[in-house]
Amino acid sequence: MQPGRIARSWRGFRDVLKGTGESHLEASIQDHLFGYERALAHPLTVTIVLGVIIGLAVSGALILALRRRISGTSYSGAFRRWRSWCWLVGVIFVPVLAGAFWTMLAVMVLSLLCFREYARVTGLFREKTICAVVVLGILLVTAAAIDHWPDDRLFFALGPLVGAMIVIVSIPFDRPRGFIQRVALGVLGFVLLGYSLGYISNMANVTNLAHTGIDFRPLVLLLIAAVEFNDMLAALIGRTLGEKAILPTTSPRKTWAGALGAATLTTALVTAAGGWLFQGTPIAEPGWLIGLGLLISVLGQLGDLTLSSIKRDVGVEDVGATLPGHGGLLDRFDSLVLVPPAVYHYLSLALGPDGPLGSEGPHRILTGGWGG
């Protein structure tokens, strides 16, 4: 790469950041990354935002109303959970509505915080070099999403390359005992919390879904809302109706009734919302939509069970104490870890010639004209 090119592409990015881009491409990049004007452009975004805010208000009022009827400890527990939810909703909604750049930044922070909890619960945090490579991998995933190399080739390259890097940096320590465990924990941490969650950043590159003018906001919000809705339904139905646990040794509280109930209701919700969102695209077929709903619901619950398995293996109840009432951040976002890649590739498949997801640009903000 010639120095002149680096300077030019940096100037381009700086202009984007300063909002002084003049060409058509730069203006559209700036609009996509930082443009909050289109925040509420799609009615589904408005519906989800309003629905969640109303849901929070109603549940808050309910907790207050039941204050006298329930014990002090269950009231304060419920209140702390509710308050943590308010914070979470804020830190999810604000970046997504603010623009793609902020969404990617928020996903990066989420990845880093989740990986921190994962490393602390498994003991991987004592292996500083492996942790440093995973952190670097998360930063690179974010940079690749911002850069948006055509067809996301840079992003996809990072899966195998960062995995290999974790193996490579572990070799020179000359500690063959425990090598497999250390490397495997590093790779699992990166795949689940860096790469998989990074797909949400990747999805934030959607600016004009199959020429319908729809951007990433309703898509990302629908994904997160459906996963969390599914999670709550599984717990709620499981607690009230269920008896037979799916995996009694892994998680005695997750029951078949909860799983099936959540799958049915989540699929119904995703089919309805998806039918609205994907109107005019090849995805708006009942088959594709029901498949999408089942994918989100089943993988969401499997993500939950993944973290339960990790916690059981280590022998802890919660992975941290970051969120009062929930445990760690990872206790809340465990259902999200398997969903984003599956949804990304599923939608890309469904889009056919209009795909893959987010292929419409903008492209190569950081790498400029480098590397052909």
């Binding site: 921190r116 490393a119 602390r120 619960v121 498994t122 003991g123 945090f125 004592r126 500083k128 942790c131 440093a132 952190v135 500690r175 005992r177 425990g178 465990q181 250390r182 293996d313 280590v314 022998g315 802890v316 919660d318 992975v319 941290g320 104490a321 970051t322």
Partner: protein
């Protein structure tokens, strides 16, 4: 280094200031990097501003656990002692710091825990339990403590009598204790001033002692602090008072500070 065990952080269920104040605290990558930057900066500034001179570095045990004790005149003291150690030991180095100063607010506690890696000692309520915790931590985990047995900074430049906490932590253990003498830190950063001044600082590191033969009881504790106080006075070039009860100590069991060289062992 151990092979591998699936062992979660001991402070997993703690958050915020509770975690920073805990003796079970275990730190990760962020603190590791912050400490690297901090100690690199401190070494540079001590060399530049205070022309730091270190004598007797060969007396430092190669591996944790061990304890560095010294006379205390200034907030620079722990930094000077930390700067005598190799940078790679920065995560095992735990200065014992006054809880009421260094862990008073959550922000201060975060700084003291993350950057300084300090462990709080609550001076007003320092119970036997807290000291017992510090003692077991020293035995169970590779740690280096920095401790000032005077219990606080001198206000007039002269050394105050040593308290027995160091004895409670090390009497009857194989943990080496390294006596050090600091010169010039009182002039460089006296307790009443807000900024350090350009003044030369010298640190003399004496030979380590172990107190395995002593009982973990009051007479043993007093003997530990008495011996270390004498060592530091010797390092300072002062003669201990002739009527000192230390004159009776068996010289075979307690080699003189300049002859022995103990390698680190764990109990």
């Amino acid at each position: 280094m151990e092979d591998w065990t699936l062992r979660p952080a001991k402070d997993l269920d703690l958050a915020g200031a509770d975690r920073h104040r805990s003796y079970d605290r275990e730190s990760g990558l962020v603190a590791n990097v912050a400490r690297f930057a901090w100690w690199t900066m401190i070494r540079g500034s001590l060399k530049l501003m205070h022309r730091l001179e270190i004598h007797g570095r060969e007396n430092l045990p190669e591996f944790p656990s061990f304890v560095l004790v010294a006379n205390h005149a200034s907030h620079l003291d722990a930094l000077v002692l930390g700067a005598t150690l190799p940078l790679k030991l920065r995560d095992q180095l735990f200065p014992l710091a006054a809880g009421d100063v260094f862990f008073h607010t959550p922000a201060l506690a975060a700084f003291s825990a993350t950057v300084l890696n300090a462990l709080p000692v609550w001076r007003k309520k320092v119970g036997a339990h807290a000291i017992q915790q510090l003692r077991s931590r020293l035995i169970d985990e590779p740690s280096i403590y920095i401790l000032f047995p005077e219990g606080g900074r001198t206000r007039d430049g002269s050394m105050r009598p040593f308290k027995s906490g160091i004895g409670m932590m090390t009497a009857g253990t194989q943990v080496p204790v390294v006596p050090c003498h600091l010169e010039g830190t009182f002039e460089a950063f006296p307790p009443e001033s807000y900024l350090p001044r350009l003044h030369k600082v010298t640190v003399r590191i004496g030979a380590p002692r172990t107190f395995e033969h002593l009982d973990n009881r009051r007479p043993g504790w007093d003997e530990v602090s008495g011996l270390l106080e004498k060592d530091i006075k010797t390092l300072a070039g002062e003669q201990p008072p002739p009527d000192s009860h230390l004159a009776t100590v068996d010289p075979v069991q307690n080699p003189s500070p300049m002859t022995s060289h103990t390698t680190s062992t764990r109990n």
